[in-house]
Subunit: 200 residues, 2 copies
Amino acid sequence: MAEKIITISRQFGSGGRTVGKKAAELLGIPCYDKEIIEEISAKSGFAQDYISEYSEDTEESGFFSALSGRDYYGHSNRDEIWIHQCAVIRELAEKGPCVIVGRCADYVLRERTDLLKVYVFSDLDSRIERIVEQYGETSEIPEKRLKNKDKRRAAYYEIYTDQKFGDAANYDLCLNSGRIGIDHCAQIIADLYNSEDFGK
Amino acid sequence: MAEKIITISRQFGSGGRTVGKKAAELLGIPCYDKEIIEEISAKSGFAQDYISEYSEDTEESGFFSALSGRDYYGHSNRDEIWIHQCAVIRELAEKGPCVIVGRCADYVLRERTDLLKVYVFSDLDSRIERIVEQYGETSEIPEKRLKNKDKRRAAYYEIYTDQKFGDAANYDLCLNSGRIGIDHCAQIIADLYNSEDFGK
């Protein structure tokens, strides 16, 4: 089977986005990441920053935040973004071979048989090093920032997919980027995509 | 870092044992599987079949089975086997580069920095096909047999390691053998073992 679509789920700070971009470069196919946000913004009218904040993570937990931003029918803005997000991901996948980073694309496209589903993760220390290098220091302790982000992302994934984030069973391939290295991760994905063994 | 020890955790019926053997062949290093049982038997005096039954899975659940086979100090035979199993795994790892299949070796050797920890799993259908092909038909429905085995193996892993079986975070690499194919799985492992990228 010639594989068509690669989805990359990733832990915050694992370098999964870079793995996706590098694999796409090796394969000569597009990699969609920020483009998804732009498209959702165009369709929904929500600002890109707002979508960025609510398209993968739950808001801070709490009773009032759970009720905020809901319309008459109980739809939250997050639900609205989810609906547009699903449509954008399906449209991008229809265009042809590509890499899609994050945003539950593995779940949104679950009925396609031509998916290569990848999960990129890493240990806490190398993720801390990476986020400080990439996003700089903030007032929040990096470890706390990561754990908070993990919790929100896992909750988001579980709410919308009814699956557990980080459970190997949801993927074809899980890569510890801190141990394997970003370049080697990208190479494993590209080799598998090109291999005749895959999905036979 | 030249990697020394590969541990393979695997779902029953995923072909993880064959992946381990093939990776070892590619690398020209030994693969330990049944040898662990033989060694435990020699050290403990328990029969090999008995060890085989209790060295990776819990017994059938139930109040009486939980109490059976315990000595004066509350040690069960399974605990006794675990203690010998840890010793055997550490001794084998001390001998030099090798592949160790199953038996929580990833956890037993967790303090070594030269481990490549792999988890091999697969979807239910290809596992059913594999166990029927390998072990033949039994009176038990294959799906029920697999699910029962999964439950017992997960419980064993969690009791002795305090970790969740199948959680990607416990490994360096997780491979869906049903999608990737046994040979390609072995090749990914061998390439990674030989790569200078790994564990830098």
